[in-house]
């Protein structure tokens, strides 16, 4: 255990080394290497568990770390004269928890992929990228400063891009990968500028150093840094208006969606805000922005998830909505509640995604209208799915109930209006996941394909994830304590409202959809435009297309026409024309008539004689030529 505590960098190095090994091994060794690959997340998990046991919330705690650090080291990465850019790692309780989440989910996803990705081309590439992602995500949570964080932040983005576009022969997958990369990059610019401002103002890039220098900064500057950091977090965590990439990211393999686009990478924004909490705590304006955006995203995404027919799209909008809950909690100041929801969400949403993967694998479709009655044919998937769905809906005593209760309680204290909106969002959450559950597993089978349960490698992760999804709620007090907070007693008012809206949503969902997907038509007839707007994601893509993409493309086209083809091509082609004209002009002197050349020769001689016989002229002339 000692080495796990003293050398947490192994959690980065081992997955990275394995990634190289798997990539070099190629497709022939992949069936064997995918088992070896699981050592990577296993190491991350072990280091997380060992570190969490060794941290203490009392004693020598330096902000922004929430507990004592079990290991910390940094080194000068770039050194130019007196200037040095340091990069390093530090492990506190928050980092340790994230390591456990990343390691556990990555391990489950890799195991699930053995069955799910069987027979696919590019297995070696797939596992190498999963390992690279694990190493990058581990680096993101281990970083002791903004430099390391940013490097890892970009690396997970690159892995996300590569894995969304895993089936790069499919144009829609390639486009989705590009979209994810570009949209999150908008957020990354915000993060980068925030880091630059903070660095410029404090001269520090380490968390400890920059947080210590924070009181010396003006309030406006701290707000600017906080808001820009949130822009970065919103891009990565798919918050409005940068959420449009996540539903499209479902083009990637489903286990990837579970790992990257539900449990870990999209939660990086929440982690970032919690990690540098002093910056947010210092600015009420920033917190208001975070609360407003989070609440708005939670409610709008939940209402979109209601009308989706693709099972993965439902889960994607559900993820956006749940991340909105987390940001609302952060904006309300309840960052421990946000982290608790992050951990619980990682468990039950990874479970739901892997469950949807199992369903897709078994039934051969992603469209819930072609499913139905799968509970009889896929009992294990159905039972674990229901556990995950109930946890998401907030059924006591599952993990989601406790997490949502803490979040709602924190938001109620900060803003009753936001609390109301989140309560409505929670009702919609229960409704859409009940709809998905009923349409997928109950009723009669509507599809043509013969549905079947996957192998043990797919069922084991489902069961293993169902356990924390069901029981994590009882660890609420321990998690809050490890993060340096006081365990909160369950608020009965909030719990009552929470259970009421969950029951309402579940009952409504069951009653409406018990006879199958035709209820959608009835709802569409009743609600009309509202339903169609929801199905189209409130036209966020269309709006982004008209507001940003088209103007950008228009500017690009005019730049091409004016600057590129006009100016630069004009210069090059113009110089061609000028030299050709000059050539044609002087060409006429070259007649081939020797006697035509004679006057020039004679004139030259005359000039030479003039030079020779005029005193001083020769020296002067040679001086011009720089002798």
């Amino acid at each position: 255990m000692g080495v796990l505590l003293s050398a947490p960098w192994i959690a980065i190095a081992l997955p990275l080394a394995l990634a190289l090994l798997v990539a070099v091994g190629g497709s022939r060794l992949a069936p064997f290497m995918r088992w070896v690959a699981m050592l990577g997340p296993l190491a991350v998990l072990a280091i997380g568990v060992a570190s969490l046991g060794a941290t203490s919330e009392t004693g020598d705690v330096v902000a922004p770390f929430v507990s004592t650090t079990t290991a910390a080291a940094s080194t000068a990465w770039i050194k130019v004269g007196d200037f040095a850019l340091t990069i390093g790692y530090a492990v506190d309780a928050l980092t340790a928890m994230m390591l456990i989440v990343v390691g556990f989910v990555a391990l489950m996803v890799m195991m699930f992929s053995v069955g799910y990705m069987a027979g696919e081309d590019g297995i070696a590439r797939y596992y190498a990228l999963l390992l690279l992602f694990t190493a990058s995500m581990t680096g993101l949570v281990l970083a002791d400063g903004f430099v390391g964080l940013f490097v890892a932040w970009e690396l997970v983005g690159a892995c996300s891009y590569l894995l969304i576009g895993f089936w790069f022969n499919k144009p829609s997958a390639a486009a989705a990968a590009m979209k994810a990369f570009v949209v999150t990059r908008i957020g990354d610019v915000g993060l980068f500028v925030a880091i630059a401002i903070l660095w410029g103002a404090t001269g520090q890039t380490s968390y400890i150093g920059s947080m210590a220098a924070l009181p010396g900064l003006s309030a406006g500057l701290v707000t600017a840094i906080g808001v820009l950091l949130f822009v970065g977090a919103a891009g990565k965590s798919a918050q409005f208006p940068l959420h449009t990439w996540l539903p499209d990211a479902m083009e990637g393999p489903t286990p990837v969606s579970a790992l990257i686009h539900a449990a870990t990478m999209v939660a990086a924004g929440v982690f970032l805000v919690a990690r540098v909490w002093p910056i947010f705590a210092a600015s009420p304006t920033t917190l208001t922005v975070v609360l407003f955006i989070g609440t708005f995203t939670a409610l709008s995404a939940a209402t979109i998830a209601v009308s989706q027919n693709d099972i993965k799209k439902v889960l994607a909008y559900s993820t956006i909505s749940q991340l909105g809950f987390m940001f609302a909690a952060l904006g309300a100041g309840a960052w421990r509640a946000a982290l608790f929801l992050l951990i619980a969400h990682a468990a039950f949403k990874a479970l739901l995604f892997l469950g949807s993967g199992s369903v897709i694998h078994g039934s051969g479709t992603q469209d819930m209208r072609e499913m139905g009655g799968l509970a009889k044919k896929m009992p294990t998937t159905a039972v674990t799915w229901v556990v995950g769905a109930a946890a998401l809906a907030g059924v006591p005593p599952l993990a989601g109930f406790f997490a949502k209760d803490e979040v709602l309680h924190g938001v109620l204290i900060a803003s009753p209006v936001a609390f109301g909106a989140l309560a409505v969002a929670a009702a919609f959450t229960a409704f859409y996941i009940t709809r998905a559950t009923v349409l997928t597993f109950f009723g009669s089978h509507r599809g043509s394909a013969h549905a079947h349960e996957g192998g043990a490698s797919m069922l084991l992760p489902l069961v293993a994830l169902a356990i924390p999804a069901a029981t994590l709620g009882f660890a609420a007090a321990a998690i809050a304590k490890a993060l340096g907070g006081e365990p909160e007693a369950l608020s009965l008012t909030v719990a009552g409202i929470s259970v009421a809206v969950a029951t309402l949503g579940i009952v409504a969902g069951y009653l409406v959809y018990r006879h199958g997907p035709d209820a959608d038509l009835a709802l569409e007839n009743t609600l009309g435009g509202v339903w169609r707007a929801s199905r189209a994601g409130y036209f966020a893509d269309t709006a982004a297309d008209y507001l940003f993409v088209r103007p950008f493309v228009a500017v690009a086209h005019s730049t091409d026409a004016i600057v590129d083809r006009g100016l630069f091509d004009g210069i090059t082609e113009g110089s061609v024309v000028v030299s050709r004209r000059l050539g044609q002009f002087f060409n006429r002197l070259q007649t081939g008539d020797y006697q035509g050349y004679m006057p020039f020769a004679v004139a030259g001689v005359v000039v030479l004689i003039a030079l020779a016989i005029t005193p001083g002229l020769l020296d002067l002339t040679l001086g011009w030529f720089g002798r």
């Binding site: 002197l589 070259q590 007649t591 020797y594 006697q595 004679v602």
Partner: protein, 99 residues
Amino acid sequence: MSIVVVCAALFSLGVYGVMVRRDVIGILASIEVMLGAATLQLVAFAMSSGVADGARTEAVGLVILALAATEAAIGLGLLVSVARRSGRGRLDEMAEVEG
């Protein structure tokens, strides 16, 4: 100094001939005139300066004349060969290299 004027006039006459004559034989003759002017100048300077050994300079002048004769013979030989082969005797007709 009058001998310098005579030599310059003779040389210019040669240059003029090279520039205006169209037949190659005339041009060759004009070149000989230029060479003769230069040789005359050499001998004249040797005589007037009095420093150099006059007899040696005259010997050099004779060598130049012999060279000029040789060169004229080669030039005429080439010219006859070209004329036999192509029937051309004028310089502007021989212009084959053109820009």
